[in-house]
């Protein structure tokens, strides 16, 4: 509070605009500084304790709540995702099994058709074979007869040419015996 007014410089601590010693130890200025510091601290204290700190505390609490909620929601969603994956896997397995079934069915059907066709073809081939064999036998038979005829005639002619008289029955039996042997 106390200062004597000495002209231009208002304090004994300042001479010609320069500090004398440490200005910190100039007790003329202490009351002023202490007064304004008190005002400052009171203002800061009230601003902080009334407005700023409760607000920040509320924001922090809210954030904590939000984070907790979000984590819970994430946990939920994760469980749902696992469920969905299970369902998907199940559906996939089902589909695979069904596909396998269908393939097997189709294979069996095709096999049956194939077997049928094969049997039919076999039967046809067998029938044709039998017919052909029959024809061949017939041809062979007729060829045999012709050969017999020719052999008989030839034998008769030969016998006649050699001056003998061919007995038809003898020639025939001889040719038959030859043909069998």
């Amino acid at each position: 509070m106390a200062t004597e007014t000495t002209g231009a410089t208002a304090s004994t601590c300042v001479v010609d605009g320069s500090a004398v010693g440490m200005p910190q130890l100039c007790f003329d200025w202490w009351p002023n500084q202490i007064f304004w510091l008190t005002v400052t601290l009171v203002v800061i204290f009230f601003v902080l304790s009334r407005i700023a700190l409760p607000r920040i505390a509320a924001v922090l609490a809210e954030r904590k709540g939000t984070i907790t909620n979000d984590l819970a929601a994430a946990e939920d969603l994760k469980a749902k995702a696992v469920e969905a994956e299970e369902a998907y896997n199940k559906a996939l397995a089902d589909a695979r099994a069904q596909a396998q079934e269908i393939i097997a069915e189709a294979k069996a059907e095709i096999q049956a058709d194939l077997d049928d066709a094969t049997a039919k073809a076999d039967a046809e081939i067998a029938a044709k074979l039998a017919e052909s064999e029959k024809k061949i036998a017939e041809i062979r038979e007729s060829a045999m007869d012709s050969v017999k005829e020719v052999a008989k005639d030839t034998a008769k002619e030969l016998v006649a040419a050699m001056g003998g008289k061919a007995d038809g029955r003898t020639v025939t039996s001889a040719v038959n015996a030859r043909m069998k042997g």
Partner: protein
């Protein structure tokens, strides 16, 4: 604040302490109790800065904070955790008080680093009041919470009986020295740093050493930025430590 050093007639004149002069903002009168001085100005700027960060910065109340709000929340969390960890859970009631001290000191320190500014916390008047506030609070809280048991702080029951009176004397002396060291540490650090910067600035008047002087100022300035925060931190954590003694006086 006006004078750096001027090379008057070849000689260097240093006035490193002029930056600490308290003077009226308006006119040249004496510095009375209510005079509006540069102290008033810079304390007002400190208050505005604190309000800007802690009130305007958090006015969005955003769940996802912006830059300003992040810093405000960081300061809140930093001091809150410090009070809780150092002084204990029951000291949380003193959190606004400790937050006030921290915010004032940290902002005053950093604002003091603005060129041509006035560093309020470099004055013993300021730091002594802050330290005495803490000292008185701690002592009053100690006696109110613990009664006469608070005196157990000075009676080291784990020491041999013969040593206890000696230790009690030492403890009492150290207890009363606390506000002295508490205040001088803060003001001394800031005053020394600012004065050293001014001295280096004085050397800049000599052309040959001025580059070196600029480098030295830059280095000192970096150091001062560090000191500004560390001293605010130290002041605050010591307050918490003293408060812990008051709340739990047993060693």
């Amino acid at each position: 604040m006006a004078t750096e050093a001027q090379g008057e007639e070849g000689g260097l004149v240093f006035h490193p302490m002029d930056q600490f002069i308290v003077k009226p903002l308006f006119g040249d009168g004496p510095v009375g109790l209510f005079t509006i001085t540069n102290v008033t100005l810079w304390m007002a700027i400190t208050v505005v800065a604190v309000i800007a960060l802690m009130v305007l910065g958090t006015s969005g109340r955003a769940t996802i904070p912006g830059r300003m709000q992040s810093i405000g929340e960081l300061a809140y969390g930093f001091i809150y955790k410090m009070v809780e960890d150092v002084a204990g859970k029951d000291a949380v009631a003193f959190f606004p008080y400790i937050m006030t001290l921290f915010m004032f000191i940290v902002f005053a320190n950093f604002l003091g680093l603005v060129p041509m500014s006035f560093t309020t916390t470099s004055h013993f008047a300021v730091t002594v009041l802050l330290a005495l506030l803490v000292f008185v609070t701690v002592t009053v809280v100690g006696f109110v919470k613990n009664g006469a048991a608070f005196l157990g702080l000075f009676w080291v029951s784990s020491a041999p009986l013969a040593l206890r009176p000696v230790l009690a004397v030492i403890e009492i002396i150290s207890y009363f020295v606390r506000p002295v060291s508490h205040s001088i540490r803060l003001a001394g650090n800031l005053m020394a740093g600012h004065a050293v910067i001014k001295v280096f600035a004085g050397f800049a008047a000599i052309a040959a050493v001025s580059p070196l002087s600029v480098v030295a100022i830059t280095a000192m300035y970096g150091l001062e930025v560090l000191v500004s925060f560390i001293q605010a931190y130290v002041f605050t954590i010591l307050t918490c430590v003293y408060l812990k003694d008051a709340l739990h006086p047993s060693h």
